[in-house]
Symmetry: C2
Subunit: 264 residues, 2 copies
Amino acid sequence: MDENELIEKITKEVLAKLEKMNQEGIRKEDNTKGNASAGNISPAELAGYIDHTLLKPGATQNQFEQLCDEALQYKFKSVCVNSSWVSFVAKKLRGSSVKVCSVIGFPLGEMVTKSKAFEARSAIEHGAQELDMVMNIGALKSGNLKLVEEDIRAIKRACRSNTILKVIIETSLLTEEEKVLACEISKKAGADFVKTSTGFTGTGATVEDIALMRRVVGPDMGVKASGGIRDYKTAVAMLNAGANRIGAGGSVAIMNGVPSKEDY
Amino acid sequence: MDENELIEKITKEVLAKLEKMNQEGIRKEDNTKGNASAGNISPAELAGYIDHTLLKPGATQNQFEQLCDEALQYKFKSVCVNSSWVSFVAKKLRGSSVKVCSVIGFPLGEMVTKSKAFEARSAIEHGAQELDMVMNIGALKSGNLKLVEEDIRAIKRACRSNTILKVIIETSLLTEEEKVLACEISKKAGADFVKTSTGFTGTGATVEDIALMRRVVGPDMGVKASGGIRDYKTAVAMLNAGANRIGAGGSVAIMNGVPSKEDY
């Protein structure tokens, strides 16, 4: 056997083993629903924590129609969309318990405050009951904490008394110290939730970040885990770590105990 | 020789070969400056086509200061930033020939028209001379062409007489037919440029897309290539294919004839 034949044979062997490992991995994930139940959270309970999310550019009206139908069927907490789809989903969900959630300044967070506030007011006028705004991360990292706080306060002022405000701090871009600071400022500025990630930048939620955020904001504020939550087990792990809201694009797959390919 | 030794030896061999291939690749790219000159575009000319771009969330004031210094040094056409940095870069660039460019509805394009128009007016008030707005791609794909056109017209109305309006059509999400339609609508609505990509979704500019866009919009409208332009040769290829503006984050590396790792 010459060198090339040998390499080919070893490569095939390695690939075959990887394939086998992958298949075992998938079978293992199929059991996540069972594992989750062990965490004492039933599918019906889990659904009530999920913001059913579609934020990809280019998604069509048919997809938003399906998103709403799924939310109604599974009784998800809300449907989370970009602001130009708020009016459409608000009509579809009218009269149901499913809330309408709009992202604001999404996903970069680096619009001027007045533009974010305008977008927030507009989304509320069109039917949004919850707002997921992105913090101005560049201002945070530049030490302009006053701007970060005023940015959140301005959106809070745009909210009606029953509008929920979540602040996305984009954990993957922050140091531990900045994560703590971002949570403290959000709380001080009157936000109702801190949220880990947009799903568009870096990695998503981790159990460690959720535990940290919960420690910082205390028991009375909300913590939303989002980005990369693709299966039941992970969703439940986030709740057990301290989250009380989950953002996911593959919520239906999650509910059916199969892994999802959707991040957001 | 036992199996483990064999595997280790083969692994080392493979890694060594990969390393060699990488080095040859880099040497080859080092010559792009020479190749570019063959395309009859000098570095000084190229600089005049480049929007020097920093759109990443979490970039700090120091980075925007450097961005402006580089733009002044290399005489780039403009500095392109998110709207919350417009005021800062406008002050830095005052009195120079380098323009201030702000993105609008970026990078998803799925804000309601009024919010995009508000952001546009605000950016212009803060010093923006060029606006790179993202088309509402979901509306295009849902067949709501009237919304797409009105969206662009509204930003055009927000523009002052000397404000340049570019429309990002996000080519990677579109079919050939949709690319043509997106260009036609942008032209009809009064935009000054069509632009390929945000750099945040899918792949960036291709020579084929630039050639197509130029064919559709004709000789009098602008075509901007952006997303994934990391070396001199690629930048020049885009100009030769019909672009008359380049968006790049690694513009300084491009000018120095070395490959850049920055997409935007």
